[in-house]
Amino acid sequence: MQSLRHGALQSLPFLLVIAPFGLLFGVVATAAGFDLAETMGFTILVFAGASQFTAVQLMTDQAPVWLVILSSLAVNLRMAMYSASMVPWLGTASQPTRAAIAYALIDQTYVLSIDYYQNAPRLSLPQRLGYFAGTSLVMCGAWVSCSLAGAVFGRAIPDSIPLDFAVPITFLAMIAPALRTPAHVAAASVAVIVSLLLVGLPAGVGPMIAALLAMLTGAGVETMMIRRRDSA
């Protein structure tokens, strides 16, 4: 119970990020033509901001269904990595508990929890679960309620507001702080250049190919850097 409160309290600063993103998704999805049920379907069932924005953007571009699904899932591939790194800490929980953790495993709950577990390795499993539940309640509650507010009140936003640009700005803002290493910068650069070169292809195909090449580039540069460091 104390861990739960601790997790919830430490999540509060993250509301500054989650709340505007949630509002923005509600507004953007509604402006794109999704009804309330569809908008909330994305928010509650998918529960992953970047991939929700990806789906809405590609559907605005009239991309084929399979490509919308594939691209939106590609954005979430990193979550498999989160899942793997949670195993040493929460892997012994019951099957339903692990399923519930999986549902709420977003960037913010992951980052907070893994940090907490690593700094306090002697915690019991119930304490770890309590902390994760605390972060999840705050983050999930905020994501869903803000998205709902955006969808309901977003209609009141005048057409003169350039909402078309909310998605690219959001994407750029999400990745810029992550450009920490030469490998990240190389991956992002390849993504941009290839995507621009392939712009003539049907909606969504160019970015998909660009992203694959960019991932290979990132992994390749990282391998090179490790080799260089090891041989130095």
């Binding site: 500054l16 919308v68 899932l73 498999a80 692990r98 640009f165 712009v199 992203a211 960019a214 580039t217």
Partner: protein, 109 residues
């Protein structure tokens, strides 16, 4: 959503929802403690910085709102967003800086 039937929209929502759940559940749930090959982890690390810029780049240079014509206000907003994100290491600060730049740019043009 124009261009898609209700069935297609819910097919997309449910497919992405189920796929995303299983990405999150993968190692915690089914695969368990078996370590992932290093090269897979290495590729996964770059998914976000690969996918999001690839989607954003054409939207920045050739916005649909201006019929694909490069728009100085939008381009400036994108550049300010990236620079702020790099310097401040904060996504929210980057969004605000980009939005303010776009508002000023559109007002001036």
């Amino acid at each position: 959503m124009p261009g898609y039937g209700s069935f297609e929209i819910w097919l997309i929502i449910l497919s992405v929802a189920i796929g995303t759940f299983f990405l999150r559940y993968s190692f915690l749930g089914a695969i368990g403690n078996r370590p992932m090959p290093e090269w897979v982890l290495r590729m996964l690390r770059y998914t976000a910085v690969a996918v999001l810029p690839a989607l954003a780049a054409p939207l920045v240079l050739w916005p649909a709102a201006t019929e694909g014509q490069t728009d100085p206000a939008r381009l400036a907003a994108a550049i300010v967003t990236v620079i702020t994100g790099l310097v401040a290491r904060n996504a929210l600060a980057a969004i605000i800086a980009g939005a303010v730049t776009l508002a000023i740019g559109l007002y001036l043009s």
